[in-house]
Amino acid sequence: MNTSERPGRFTFESLSIAEDDLQEARKALYRSTGDGYFVFRRFLGEEVVRHIRSIWPAIDPAHTHRLFESKHDFFPLCPDQYVADERGNRSFYNFFFNTPVDEVTWSASLSVQMLRNRLSGRPPLVETFPAGGRCASYRVVVTRDAKTWIGPHRDYLQEPGSLDRDKYDLTRLQATLFLSEKGHDYAGTGFRFERNDGRTVVFGTDIPMHAGDLVIWRYNNLHSVEDVSTTDGQLGFMRIIYPPEIMHAGPQAQPTAQAAAGGGAAARAGIAARQVARDVLSRLGLLETARQMLRGRRQT
């Protein structure tokens, strides 16, 4: 029985996305003459699309997610969160570091995240785990009835020329994994996007989109989701987007006692020191002020 694979069959390089394979999409995304978006047709096969479409509209989020209140509640190891309204619109803010509600969505989303990262010149798994200032979520959104879901805006372009990469970053890309089809699942406009040449396109109208198609697009470009309607029996505009969320300080940002036990004396000492600091600040009535300062520091 062989105990080793032939050399080169599985390697770090062969399991990575090759630079040369990214060039065509990068030109479409970043060149002034490019579209500002690139469509990966049938990124998900039919079986996977069927599966994901069957999971999210059916789950009771009260059992799987915590109610979303504020993005300040996004912190390392925070629970997945949801919002729902009386019109049937639902958003699930899922993080890769949590046990997934659906392993298929989670796995597919990790692939999207790796592709998006590599296209934007980043390591494949950056901002996937809460190791830095931001951590991507895979937000499953089902819009059934909305005049303006999110108005026209640009991201990472608040202060052109700024050295703060949160305010000016020309590499940033967003991804929309389509899980429904205009006409069949919803009516109206949906995802509107301004190309690099300033012309506006609507996905599903100007650019045919099918469930399972993935669009990766330039975050700096003007974009919106608007005017979506459904009739009874229609799923809605269902997609997954991948916002790199700011990770705030939170109660679970600290290592657990169990992790500390595995992490050795230094980690245990760190936890003890933080507990003492929290107690002292709390007694002085300064705990919330200190947390706000910490949040501010992490945002800058």
Binding site: R26, S32, L119, P124, L163, D169, L170, T171
Partner: protein, 209 residues
């Protein structure tokens, strides 16, 4: 000057993304030339640009060095290819030479230099390589010449990294400015802190007796 859109388009044609290097290309190129002028660079001088990238400084320096010479070396071949292209687009006079290399073999230019610069280079090298780089400059710098560089002090959270998501590199782990003073002593140089402000890093200067 070439505009930002043309620079980014050219970069993308070389499969490079418009990261902060290209987003602030003009600004930092201008800063570099200004810093060199502040330490005495004049149009007749020879200039060594260590980590020249895609001619960020070169696009400013070559026209300025009307009777001089600009030589740039970078370890990232794609940047050097792009630099040659941008130099062509900018219609630069042929007073520049570019080489790809990560071994600090500056003697390949066959030039003795009046000035050298390493902008955001020592921030991307382990201490041993910084030492090798300074040692290599000793062979190519004229008496009375100067070498200006930017640096950061301290160990970053991520030491090893993938530049542009693809090229393995290391960040600097220099713990104190005394590192540069020690290098100066070792190689018979003078280490100074010039009165020049860098937008994000610190600035040091070696003078060659």
């Amino acid at each position: 000057m070439i505009g930002q859109t043309a620079i980014i388009d050219a970069a993308v044609d070389h499969n490079l993304v418009p990261n902060e290097y290209f987003a602030h290309f003009e600004r930092f190129g201008a800063w570099q030339l200004d810093a060199l002028k502040q330490i005495g660079l004049q149009p007749h001088h020879s200039l060594l640009d260590i980590g020249c990238g895609a001619m960020r400084l070169g696009l400013h320096a070559v026209p300025y060095l009307s009777n001089g010479l600009y030589c740039g070396m970078d370890a990232f071949a794609k940047y050097v290819e792009l630099g040659n292209e941008l130099a062509h687009v900018a219609n630069l006079p042929p007073r520049y030479r570019l080489l790809v290399g990560d071994d600090f073999s500056f003697e390949r230019f066959g030039v003795q230099f009046d000035f050298a610069i390493a902008q955001s280079v020592f921030t991307h090298l382990p201490a041993g390589d910084v030492r090798r780089c300074v040692a290599a400059t000793r062979k190519v710098m004229k008496p009375g010449s100067a070498f200006i560089f930017s640096y950061l002090v301290g160990t970053p959270g991520t030491v090893g990294f993938l530049y542009a998501g693809a090229k393995p590199m290391q960040r600097s782990t220099i713990e104190s400015e005394s590192f540069f003073a020690d290098l100066a002593r070792e190689f018979g140089l003078e280490f100074q802190k010039p009165d020049i402000i860098h937008p994000t890093q610190q600035v040091g200067l070696f003078r060659y007796p």
